[in-house]
Amino acid sequence: MIIQQRKANDILPSEITPKSTYLNRRKFMTGALTSAAALATSPVLAIQSAEGKPALSSPNELQKQILAASETAWGKDETLSPYSAVTQYNNFYEFGTGKTDPSRYADDFKTDGWKVEIGGECEVKGQFTLEDILKPMDLEERIYRLRCVEAWSMVIPWVGFPLAELLKRFKPLSSAKYVEFTTIEDPKQMPGQRSVFSTIDWPYKEGLRMDEAMHPLTLMAVGLYGEILPNQNGAPLRLVVPWKYGFKSIKSIVAIRFVEEVPSTTWNDLAPQEYGFYANVNPKVDHPRWSQASERRLPNGLFSANRIPTQMFNGYASEVEGLYSEMDLRRFY
């Protein structure tokens, strides 16, 4: 007779937030917000711009837009990593190098009045507020696997829009071959940027080839788990490139530039032999100090490391392998 025993540290299904629960919560909050808006002739909502659109966008506006996000088929069959894992185990060196530093030190990070500087090889340039960026966007929810270069992974329900939708609005020129992204540099708010022990040359920079940036999988996220993006996860605006190692998915973006040459990127500058510009998830190309053949799907337990094989392009090969058909991925890691 086989007696199945639950190991004490196995994660109970009940410990993982069921999707229906947080989706219900979204519905509940949508309801609450719309009824609140209907009841109160709210001064904020009443201020309308000439085009009849709200001139002011409050977190409420953003929350409403996030709650209205449409569901997509992406990652429907995946088991989500719990909210606590997603929001309390982060690499965001601007707030410290420890995994719990971002959730500990990002609470007071100010994202109001957020602006993004658009420049380089494009017709439409200048400063855009987060509201400008979000106004015409229909948000959608996508559940993506996130594979960190450190050989752990999670499954995260993001809310955002395809980066391509945004980039098209700036009318990139044919000379635009790459897109460069920059994270905010604000040492007053970011202890990691003040630290004398940091080896990073701030601000954090990342980049994509134009076709990677325009790929329909590439997402610009403003929310996760049906809520506004927590500060430690890169509020208010972050990139999500699911077939690349996590460090490519730059957080708290303040500048986007269209450029002709490969932009310099933070980790590639710091250790080029360890972190390539492309950084595509690839089980066959190891990090010099560890294997990339498998990954630890988090959360795991003490006696169950939850190690699973890493998939080529993090399992998105059928969508993206065409981008690299001519390339030697051992050389361009």
Partner: protein
């Protein structure tokens, strides 16, 4: 210095057995703390140490192994500073605790991260040379622990001292083992390496002559 001597004199007057009990009790505290973490994680508080508790425990035990190694290495310099024999009496015990924490660290690695999948270890070692260095340090400490008895001391004679000087090599291995794992936060690995070098320098250069003349352990 006079305050130190005064404190030291006080300690000398405490019976040796009591001192041993105190040292044992204090040294066991981190192990008890780590054990209760394991129990709590296993009984429901699964995210007590975050979503990767095994890794967190490997780092925690590694930190304490290094702490005790440094304390053990500091015993002789402290003895020189105070010139009181009571310090030296406890050197073996502190060294054995360093071995115990290093073993806990290795056990935590084998259990939580390797999951006793020895087939993986060959590729792990090739990919991660720091594992070899850590294993080397642990094996040295194992040899020293096994030869820490009076009987071994007597039967090894002069060779005992030569053998036990390998502890410095173990400390250097541990430092490189730590340094090789730096990604961007280099403060702690560098701090431990500097402390190791300080202890080694104090012992081997400045006091070398003194060491050869007076140490009869």
């Amino acid at each position: 210095m006079s305050i130190l001597t005064a404190i030291s004199n006080k300690i000398t007057s405490v019976p040796v057995l009591w001192r041993r009990f105190t040292i044992t009790g204090l040294s066991a505290l981190p192990a008890i703390y780590i054990l209760q973490l394991v129990v709590r994680i296993q009984t429901g508080e699964w995210d007590l140490l975050g979503p990767e508790p095994g890794k967190a425990l490997v780092w925690l035990t590694g930190t304490w192994a290094f702490n005790f190694l440094l304390i053990a290495l500091a015993v002789t310099p402290l003895y020189r500073l105070l010139n009181q024999r009571w310090v030296l009496v406890h050197r073996r015990m502190v060294g054995l605790w360093a071995f115990l924490y290093t073993s806990l660290h290795a056990l935590a690695y084998a259990t939580f991260l390797l999951q006793w999948q020895w087939a993986d270890i060959t590729s792990e070692i090739v990919k991660r040379p720091y594992l070899l260095l850590g294993t080397g340090a642990w094996m040295i400490l194992l040899a020293l622990a096994l030869t820490s008895t009076r009987w071994a001391q007597k039967s090894l004679g002069k060779r005992w001292k030569t053998l036990h000087k390998l502890v410095y090599f173990a400390a250097l291995l541990a430092s490189v083992h730590y340094l090789l794992q730096i990604r961007a936060g280099w403060f702690e690995p560098v701090l431990y390496t500097v402390l190791t070098l300080v202890v080694l320098l104090v012992r081997n250069r400045r006091f070398e002559g003194f060491w050869k003349k007076s140490d009869k352990m």
